[in-house]
Subunit: 138 residues, 2 copies
């Protein structure tokens, strides 16, 4: 619920493995990460350790090798992550930033349809203009 802890970039890549597998051992992570990074085994182990300390990963210690499971759902983590980043953007620029993301991302037809419905609804109550808030309260 209240995960104030923030996930590092490197840690994020480790979590993606466990999110996708559902669960796994450290050697699973090491194996898959070898495909996309040139991290040494020790590096992955460190990352797994830090992820545990931050309570993003929980090991089942009843047997060895431990089987690690994500404590936080991927969708929840993504939600927190992208919104935290957007919080730091100028309000006025968020629309264009989203357009930029749409342009640069592969999106399935289904997701596009969902998005268009969402936008259609949102348009009803959308403001004419969103004001910049970069200079703080008036």
């Amino acid at each position: 619920m209240n995960n104030i802890e923030t996930m590092s970039d490197a840690g994020w890549n480790v979590m993606r493995i466990f999110w996708t597998l559902g669960q796994g051992t450290s050697s699973d992570a090491i194996m898959y990460l070898k495909r996309k990074t040139d991290w040494k085994e020790a590096t992955v182990k460190t990352l797994i350790n830090r992820l545990q300390k931050k309570n993003f990963l929980k090991p089942d210690q009843s047997a060895r090798p431990y089987v690690y499971q994500p404590v936080i759902a991927e969708s929840e983590a993504i939600h927190q992550n992208v919104n935290r980043m957007f919080d730091s953007l100028c309000c006025m620029k968020k629309g264009k930033a989203i357009e930029d993301l749409i342009s640069n991302s592969d999106i399935s037809k289904g997701d596009i349809d969902d998005m268009m419905n969402l936008l259609k609804a949102k348009r009803e109550t959308a403001p004419e203009k969103v004001e910049c808030d970069c200079l703080g309260e008036v």
Copy 2:
């Protein structure tokens, strides 16, 4: 063009002042930031300094107090920032992440319209499904 340097969160908030003002002195930044943070003056000065070192801010030193100007455009910085973050997301989840952003952001009617047009065009060539790439190359 090739700004490999990354902007810290705190630095980002300083840049927003100069982006919005176009240019300004350190006391401008200190003044406006006092409205949204409880940073000491010294903190803002440090941040300005680091931003210079990273070549995000350039001072006009022909007179005192220096007048600082952004070296990188806000739109460009936002572009780099949001796309870098999206690069770290699972391909398959990007669509939903954008929907999440749309839901949680104030967006003007104009931007919504632009977005819908963009989506309409994008839909023509959109894939049925986007595959997860979290486990690396096949």
